[in-house]
Amino acid sequence: MSDKFELPKSKGVVFWPIGTGDSTTIVIEPDEVVMQIDLRHLAKAEDGESPEWPIVDHLVDRLPQVDGKPFLSAFVLTHPDKDHIQGFEELLKQVTIGEIWHTPKVFRDLDENESLCDDAVAFRDEAHRRRKAILDANGETKSGDRLRVIGHDDLLKEDDYVNLPEECKSRPGELVTSVNGEDVSGSFEAFIHAPFKEDQAKDRNNTSLSLNVSLLDGDERAQFFFFGDREYLTIKRIFEVTEDYEENVDYLNWNVMLSAHHCSKSVMFWKGEDDDEPKFRKDIMVYFEKYSQNGKIIASALSDFSDEEGKNPPHKKARKKYEAIVDAGNFLCTHEYPDKDDPKPIVFTVDGSDGFGFDDSRAKAAGPAGLATAVESARGASKPPQTQTEFGNS
């Protein structure tokens, strides 16, 4: 069920209620430069009855117009799983995309289980088209054909890529301050944490692009951490490696963190070689807490948190661990905000005069609301019942 909704009129980030999957919109310059990280468009959302919002429809309606067509400055794909790319083919038809960012994983399957969905194939084909266009133009790039390949991979040493200009390549440890060829350094910084060189042989989740995006306005800076679907070891490595470079440590700070893999327990419960079952790993939570700037954690997922055997994320165990490191009210599920029945996008804004903002529309309580409910229900009613009670001798 989706309402009319406007993208923020200042710099900001929007987390959409799109089911369990990722779709984040970053407004870098209002009405001009907009970036989309991942996409999850469900066909059933288009009927307007389900709680999921049809993200492509909203982007088409709300993106800035260039030459009479909606214009997205950049589309960033963390990894080519369906819940991160669904709807891309349609988006490409209806929207002009200035630049696409992706990892080499788009071209490399670990095994047959990693075959690409239709939208991922469309994305891969688009990446190939752009690469050819750039090479055909002798390295000249233009909006609509731009490409940024992020990470190390042996693939990049092959002929198809070795001749791509350097501006089309980024590596971990690099700070990107341009989008679609435009210098936006006063508004935007994306610090690339991963994929690492040794990630290339890992599964798709653990090769996810990980970014720490800063939105800047005057003296204000708000940082947004994205990990894709990474798990415990490859997220921990981000903190370990970055702490080795003092000049980069600030890019571990976060005001908002999109919980990896839609609030998966694999982030903090991990089965080591000698373990019989996954064990809680406190060290990763310590890292998260250490760099939190009174942070808010987003679970981009339906509100069906559970720990049942074989259940996909979101996981209740993970939620509880996240809730233990943020202040009250700072764990937000996209399908619980402002309430479960009628979820709405979660919008953060950055404004030089107003600062980092979150126009929280949830009702505030005068105590833990759940506790009051629990006590009332457990105590039972003292008044007579409101329904008739039947007695008889037969």
């Binding site: 009250a328 929280d360 629990a374 007695f391």
Partner: protein, 760 residues
């Protein structure tokens, strides 16, 4: 686990089941002292917050410590981190102070009330609303040296709170205490012939938890502008004021207390330094005759001493407040009288018991046993029967000592013991007393005794119990005969019901209204038990009158007697007597049911009315009214009402309507002062046995299960016939559904009884 702890776990299970995403718990361990440790995880959610409020995490863990005596002793709750440390009503960095005193705890509501309180605590902490100006600020927490005698602070401080001052405290030393009786300006000539200690009034507060090491204390004092060298020189003076071999004392005043009306008051603490350290300080002082080498040795000694003080724990002496600026006086004058009696047990040696015991002692009883756990403190002398020589002694022993002086012929025994333990620890001894005076004024003691009454096996002694209202203008007394089947708490419950329903407004308001509770005050602002306002004259006069009345109008095997006595200070200084017939009591495995004598007669009236309006073979029924105390496992059935207007009656079926029943509940609840509300249903089985049918079972199971109105518990009373004998079937339905169970488990206990009244 004790029965009470099992109840606590059931309550937790119910709450966790009701809100599984918000409240989870794990039983962690049972400690050696019987305390059950339960870890609670609570989702806090978005809160109203204010600047300076406590910052909660979205999910907070708590450790709940449930004592074996639960619900008669309330649980403690702590956190494992120090994020709350330093916040008001958080003690020792981890413990949440939810209750100022046991008087605020309601055993009947168990953990539900506890969690209501936690809910309020969290909400107020988030709003930084924990220390309202109008409230009393609790005294600070510090390490106490309990090996030394306490200081009794009797003289008001020399300067207003927050004003710096340095001088001398004048002390009077007794074997059991050191009284601080005056303040002297500091001068170079020390007063001779007096016991003195250095005293300083600091301008600012220390943290609510005092610094634990000397270094931390020095740092705090330096932050207040107290120069370190000056501190050292003051401590040196303090050491010089102390005799060799005695601990050094330094009196410190801080603006850290508050009167009940909100004004800041000076808190007095006494820092104590061990005698050997004091001796070393004195030895480190330079003398004019010192050689160079000796001076060097003294300097090194001084360095070592100050380093030792820095790393050593800071200990403070026990303080007993007797300052008029801190304590709220209990006096206002009325006449008194005395009474005599013989062989008795007095439970509680406080405001009532200490005088009642003396009244009894003066009448020369053969034996007099005195039971109390408390100690004698200064403030209580206004109206309790002790002297300053008794300070710090056990009350029972101090009173016994006094009574032995007054009545040497009486064999007096003192028992510094909890009243309930005294009884249950030796039941034959208890049964042997001719008369027991319950002067505890403790509903928790009375409730515990009621719970265990059945264990006395009908060998209970004659008892008189009494308690005062919040302003000591009236006293209620309860008198029960030897060997009766229910105790004094049962008597008080029924007396309250009688007072409220018979419109004895003055007594009902004085003892059972919300405003009555608000008139209590805290004699030492902070976490002390609220008590009543009244002089010795009030308590002696009323307790003597109550004792007189109780002895003059004894109870019998048929009835108990309640008394309401007003003193000459109140508007209606009359004596009223309430004779209350014994209930019909039915004992089920988990529950005792007390039926008021009006219940069956009223049922008969409704049955006859039904026969007139319909036929005698049509079923009828209605609602039961009373009180259901889960903590005690007692249901009081005070009354029943007829079929609501929307009921339907058939041969073999009765559908109990709902019209007007909610309003009826509200009316009865308010009128009875909360004593009587809806507790279940009654109906008839004409010409049939009073056994429950399949339809009855389905109706009641639905009622108490979550598919119904979440009633959780209800009593069903069926009137039937066994031949010519009128009978009643009693069915107690309780929902035992708990955490982790997906279905509702309903427990039914039942009993068939024969009735003297022919209801059908």
């Amino acid at each position: 686990m004790t029965r009470g702890q099992q109840r606590a776990v059931v309550e937790l299970e119910r709450m966790a089941q009701s809100a599984p995403d918000d409240l989870e718990f794990d039983i962690e361990e049972e400690l050696k002292d019987g305390i059950l440790v339960v870890r609670i995880e609570l989702r806090i959610g978005l809160l109203e917050t204010a600047k300076g409020g406590l910052q909660f995490r979205e999910r907070e863990s708590f450790s709940l410590r449930i004592p074996g005596e639960f619900p008669f002793q309330y649980p403690r709750i702590e956190v494992s981190h120090r994020r709350f440390a330093g916040f008001p009503h958080v003690t020792w960095g981890r413990w949440l102070c939810l209750y100022q005193s046991v008087a605020q705890w309601n055993p009947e509501d168990g953990l539900y009330g506890f969690f209501d309180r936690l809910h309020e605590w969290i909400g107020r902490a988030a709003m930084n609303d924990m220390d309202p100006v109008e409230g009393a600020l609790e005294p600070p927490y510090h390490l106490t040296d309990s090996t030394q005698v306490p200081f009794v602070i009797r003289k008001n401080v020399p300067v207003p709170p927050g004003e710096s001052w340095i001088g001398l405290a004048v002390l009077k030393r007794y074997s059991n205490r050191i009284d601080l009786v005056g303040w002297e300006e500091f001068s170079s000539d020390l007063p001779q012939g007096q016991s003195l200690a250095l005293a300083t009034m600091l301008p600012e507060v220390l943290p609510m938890e005092f610094p634990i090491t000397g270094k931390a204390l020095f740092t705090e004092l330096e932050n207040q502008g107290q120069d370190r060298n000056m501190l050292i020189s003051r401590l040196t003076i303090a050491a010089l004021l102390t005799k060799e071999g005695a601990p050094v004392h330094m009196v410190v005043g801080l603006p850290m207390r508050r009167s009940a009306t909100g004004e800041t008051r000076t808190h007095i603490a006494v820092w104590t330094i061990p005698s050997d350290v004091g001796d070393s300080i004195r030895k480190s002082l330079a003398s004019d005759t010192d050689s160079e080498a000796l001076r060097e040795i003294r300097d090194k000694l001084a360095d070592a001493v100050w380093k030792l003080i820095e790393v050593s724990p800071v200990y403070w002496c026990r303080i007993l407040e007797d300052r008029s600026e801190i304590l709220v006086r209990r006096d206002a004058g009325t006449p008194l009288s005395i009474l005599a009696n013989t062989k008795v047990l007095v439970l509680g040696c406080g405001a009532l018991g200490s005088w009642v015991a003396e009244m009894l002692a003066r009448s020369s009883p053969a034996t007099l046993d005195l039971v109390d756990t408390g100690i004698v403190k200064p403030g209580i002398l206004v109206r309790q029967n002790f002297t300053p020589d008794d300070y710090g002694k056990g009350k029972a022993k101090a009173l016994a000592d006094r009574i032995e002086k007054i009545a040497p012929d009486v064999c007096v025994s003192a028992h510094q013991q909890d009243a309930h333990r005294f009884i249950t620890g030796d039941r034959p001894r208890f049964s042997d007393f001719d008369l027991v005076l319950d002067c505890t004024a403790s509903s928790i003691f009375q409730m515990k005794l009621e719970r265990d009454w059945i264990d006395l096996g009908g060998h209970s002694p004659r008892m008189i119990s009494m308690f005062l209202d919040a302003q000591a203008q009236r006293i209620l007394a309860m008198s029960i005969d030897r060997g009766v089947p229910a105790g004094i708490w049962d008597g008080y419950v029924r007396l309250k019901h009688r007072l409220c329903l018979q419109e004895q407004a003055d007594l009902a308001n004085a003892f059972y209204s919300e405003s009555a509770e608000s008139l209590l005050f805290q004699p030492e602002p902070g976490c002390s038990d609220p008590t009543f306002v009244g002089s010795m004259a009030d308590v002696v006069g009323l307790s003597a009158a109550a004792l007189n009345r109780s002895l003059a109008e004894p109870p019998s095997a048929d009835h108990i007697v309640g008394f309401g006595v007003g003193s000459t200070r109140c508007a209606a200084p009359t004596h009223r007597t309430f004779k209350i017939k014994h209930d019909l009591r039915v004992v089920l495995p988990t529950t005792r049911i007390h039926f008021s004598d009006v219940v069956f007669g009223t049922a008969r009236s409704f049955v006859r009315q039904n026969a007139r309006e319909r036929t005698s073979s049509d079923e009828t029924g209605g609602l039961l009214w009373g009180r259901w105390d889960e903590a005690l496992g007692i249901i009081w059935v005070f009354d029943l009402s007829g079929p609501p207007p929307d009921s339907s009656h058939d041969n073999g079926r009765f559908l109990c309507g709902t019209e007007g029943t909610q309003e009826e509940h509200d009316r009865r609840f308010e009128r009875s002062g909360g004593t009587s509300g809806f507790i279940g249903f009654w109906h008839t089985h004409p010409q049939m046995v009073s056994q429950q049918s399949a339809v009855d079972i389905a109706g009641m199971a639905k009622l108490v299960s979550r598919i119904g109105d979440n009633q959780r518990r209800a009593l069903m009373l069926i009137f039937g016939q066994d031949g010519d004998q009128s009978t009643a079937g009693i069915y107690v339905y309780e929902n035992l559904a708990s955490h982790g169970q997906n279905h509702d488990l309903v427990q039914v206990s039942n009993e068939q009884i024969q009735l003297e009244v022919n209801v059908l």
